[in-house]
């Protein structure tokens, strides 16, 4: 790289960022001040302008930049994370690239200022729909997570799960009760409809005092300094703990599930899910 270009780049980058110089910067109109980023704060042009922009985009831009603006087969960039789009207010930056070209992008000189503003408005309307943490606008695929072998899943179930569970007992009709495949799989892996350890399944506890007395009940709270429980008759009891005394023995029905997470292969998970999906 020659030194003059380098110096120019340094100068450009030293004040703010690679943002195209503009003689007259349009004012940005804010419609949703409480939105996190400018692309969701900004006001959008009227619906008819956006519709016109969409038509122009899908005819002229789609081939390279994709129907969803995320880049296309012809190598056009992803407009939803493009500097030019993100800094654009009303077509001034986008228009500059359209009318002057950039990199491998050819010059388009067939658009009026209104056309360019409409294309920019359409692009901003899609960017407006982006979700949090940099995500794209919502995309909808029909994905099937049921790739497992139900017969293999049944064998795994009989071997590893049948000690505690039965498809004619606690899991009868499980696929009907949990119709969503994702939730079904997440639920059985975690060991309950609610997350493990958050009240879905009750842990019981036996506290043995130094005098040898034992108190058993449903565990309420437990740390290195304290344990509390509710006995079968509903009585609340708590104990201070010091140096592991009094002794606390937990019976966590999910403990086997917790151990299982380190042993389960993903193929086992998919197989068992396929099997449980047959338990209507």
């Amino acid at each position: 790289m020659n030194i003059i270009v380098k110096v120019l780049q340094i100068l450009l980058l030293s004040y703010g960022f690679p943002i195209a110089a503009q003689d007259t910067q349009p004012e940005i109109e804010i419609a949703n001040p409480s939105a996190m980023f400018l692309q969701q704060q900004r006001a959008l042009p009227p619906a008819e302008v956006i519709a016109r922009g969409e038509t122009l985009y899908q005819v002229n831009c789609r081939l390279c930049h994709g129907p969803d603006l995320r880049g296309g087969d012809q190598g056009g960039s992803n407009l939803l994370r493009s500097d030019v789009v993100l800094i654009d207010i009303a077509g001034e930056s986008i228009g500059e690239v359209i009318t002057e070209g950039r990199g491998s992008m050819p010059i388009f000189d067939n658009f009026s200022n209104e056309d360019i503003a409409a294309i920019a408005g359409y692009i901003h309307s899609i960017k407006f729909e982006s979700e949090g943490q940099g995500s794209t606008p919502p995309v909808d695929y029909d994905l099937d997570i049921l790739v497992g072998d139900a017969a293999a899943g049944e064998r795994y179930f009989d071997r590893e799960c049948a000690t505690c569970h039965s498809v004619t007992g606690d899991l009868s009709g499980i696929a009907t009760r949990i119709p969503n495949d994702y939730i079904m799989q997440n639920t059985w892996v975690a060991g309950g409809r609610r997350q493990a350890g958050r009240g879905g399944v009750q842990t019981t506890v036996i506290v043995t005092t130094q005098g040898g007395e034992t108190v058993a009940g449903r565990l309420l709270r437990y740390d290195d300094f304290f344990v509390s429980l509710r006995t079968e008759d509903g009585t609340y009891q708590s104990f201070s703990r010091r140096g592991g005394s009094p002794q606390v023995d937990l019976d966590d029905p999910l403990y086997r599930h917790r151990e299982l997470w380190s042993e389960l292969r993903d193929s086992d998970i998919h197989d068992v899910t396929a099997y449980l999906e047959t338990i209507k």
Binding site: S14, L38, R70, L86, G134, V139, G197
Partner: protein, 552 residues
């Protein structure tokens, strides 16, 4: 064009405030951590090892609550609440946004009996003796991700902090009046800034965050004027840049993330600032960024004078789980194979502990410190864990450990040089991860996946031998659930942290015995300590409330 070294002639004559003592001479920031806590980690080493010794193993249970106070977010335009505090206002926003996200999730600096406390868009100076407010500054924001502020830096008479909408703001430390503010990243590109700046000589080291596939960078600004000195991109920005061979093309590289959002450490002997970089982007869909993706998820050493890369070691090649390696590393003067070595260690979010030569970047040790992390196929001969592609987000679902937040996160670890022990939390949990956007172009940001929490098991607190990576002692938290709490250690062998069960706890750092606890709620930062009027205080935050304990 990877390294931008800008030598800007300073033509602004410094104005000296007569009669005001200098709060912190920048030369003193290199000192060991004792009475004052004057930079993010207390000193440049990242050890969080205080030489204060009034509190020790025999008397720690005598710690007394000296004061507690809740942050006052109210914008006080007149003396209506009787405190005499009128909020100093600044900002480039229109005044129509009030995003209150109040948790204290960073360091509080303490100098000469004054605390500097932050939340996004807010700075308070408080009396370290009783928590009284001295001044309050509010920044009117343009918006942005208000997830946290990690604290101020101090330079002479100014305190300097970052805003979520990417300004570096310098305030008069005595009054809270603004000295200057400078834009450090474009809000338009969805950057957001949380890092506690680090002052080194007359420079302010600044980092930023971004979730929209923008390139990460570290910058140095002039502490006096707020002008940019250099900018170091953590990903290749031209075809000639180092690391470009680890990306399929420049478009992927220059949208590749690697943000510098947690403060690093500084080695004055080599003039190297050493920090961890964030995850590559798009975060969960690596299909359009095949390769190791340098210098994301790496330990990176940058020369503070020139802004140029000195060395790097990648702790997570081609991450696809949002496991930043941004954790504050720790400088260790240690002994390896009988020879004294200058080292740096880090316990990464991905569940691996690393020790590296901090002068050369030579790899010394890789050791898994999580009992459950299951995402790697093996460790390369060169020390980097190799990701197993079968543990990426896939359409039918994969069971992955650790969880998105990782085995450790930004909450800082600590190191006791006398014991040679590195103290860190060990969060062990599992997620189900599904690919929801199988587009061959990759998704964007942290999108393209569905994540379901499964649960946690065997989470613990560890004291790791930096030479072996083995836990010398390990305290398993009751019930096995994970903890996000930073760590403080002292020359008297104490370790302070949170237990995730609403207790602030003190361990005997040599053997892991619990010595003291106080049930104040889950701490939202790391415990800190300082000395005022000859008394040692222990300071910690629980969301919007500060607790200061003292040894009388």
């Amino acid at each position: 064009m990877r390294y931008l070294a800008l030598f800007i002639i300073n033509i602004i004559v410094p104005i000296t405030l007569i009669g005001q003592e200098v709060v912190v001479d920048p030369d003193d920031l290199a000192n060991v951590l004792d009475g004052d806590w004057d930079t993010y980690s207390g000193d440049y080493s990242g050890q969080r090892y205080s030489n204060l010794d009034q509190v020790h193993k025999e008397n720690v249970s005598d710690l007394t609550l000296a004061w507690t106070t809740e942050l006052n977010f109210n914008i006080r335009r007149g003396n209506i609440d009787g405190t005499g505090i009128i909020t100093k206002m600044g900002g480039e926003g229109r005044g129509d946004i009030d995003i209150r996200s109040g948790s204290i999730k960073g360091s509080i600096l303490e100098v000469n009996g004054v605390l500097y406390v932050t939340a996004p868009d807010h700075v308070w100076a408080m009396d370290a003796r009783d928590g009284s407010e001295i001044w309050h500054y509010h920044w009117e924001t343009r918006g942005g991700t208000h997830i946290a502020n990690r604290g101020v830096a101090i330079w002479n008479d100014s305190v300097i902090f970052e805003t979520p909408d990417n300004y570096l703001v310098s305030l008069n430390a005595h009054t809270g009046e603004e000295n200057w503010h400078s834009e450090i990243a474009p809000f338009e590109l969805q950057y957001f800034s949380t890092m506690a700046p680090i002052t080194i000589r007359d420079r302010v080291i600044v980092g930023t965050g971004n979730d929209l596939d923008q390139p990460g960078f570290l910058q140095a600004f002039d502490a006096e004027t707020g002008t940019l000195v250099w900018r170091f991109y953590t990903v290749p920005m031209s075809e000639d840049d180092p690391g470009i061979e680890t990306w399929p093309n420049l478009d992927a590289a220059s949208h590749g993330g690697g943000n510098a959002w947690v403060p690093g450490v500084y080695d004055p002997e080599t003039d190297l600032y050493i920090f961890g970089t964030g995850n590559p982007t798009p975060g969960y869909t690596g299909v359009a960024r095949r390769g190791d993706n340098l210098f994301t998820c790496s330990l990176v050493a940058v020369n503070v004078t020139t802004g140029e890369l000195e060395w790097y070691f990648q702790t997570s090649p081609h991450d696809t789980h949002d496991w930043d390696s941004a954790q504050t590393p720790i400088l260790i003067d240690g002994v390896i194979d009988g020879k004294p070595r200058k080292l740096v260690s880090t316990a990464a979010r991905n569940g691996f502990f690393f020790t590296v030569d901090r002068v050369t970047g030579e790899h010394i040790l890789t050791k898994k410190y999580s009992r459950t992390a299951n995402w790697e196929s093996h460790v390369r001969e060169t020390g980097e864990p190799e990701p197993n592609p079968d543990k990426e987000a896939l359409i039918p679902g994969t069971l992955v450990s650790p969880v998105e937040g990782g085995v450790a996160n930004w909450q800082p670890p600590a190191f006791n040089p006398e014991y040679g022990l590195f103290y860190t939390q060990e969060n062990n949990g599992f997620n189900m991860l599904y690919l929801s956007d199988p587009d061959p172009r990759g998704s964007m940001g942290l999108g393209g996946k569905i994540r379901a929490e499964v649960g946690s098991i065997d989470s613990a607190f560890q004291a790791i031998d930096y030479r072996t990576g083995e836990a010398v002692w390990r305290h398993e938290w009751p019930g096995g659930g994970g903890v996000n709490a930073g760590v403080l250690t002292t020359s008297t062998g104490l370790v302070f942290t949170g237990d995730g069960r609403n207790n602030l706890v003190a361990f005997d750092g040599s053997d892991g015995n619990l010595l003291w606890h106080s049930r104040i709620g889950n701490i939202s930062n790391a415990p800190q300590t300082y000395m005022v009027d000859g008394r040692q205080y222990l300071l910690v935050a629980v969301r919007e409330r500060l607790f200061a304990y003292v040894m009388y």
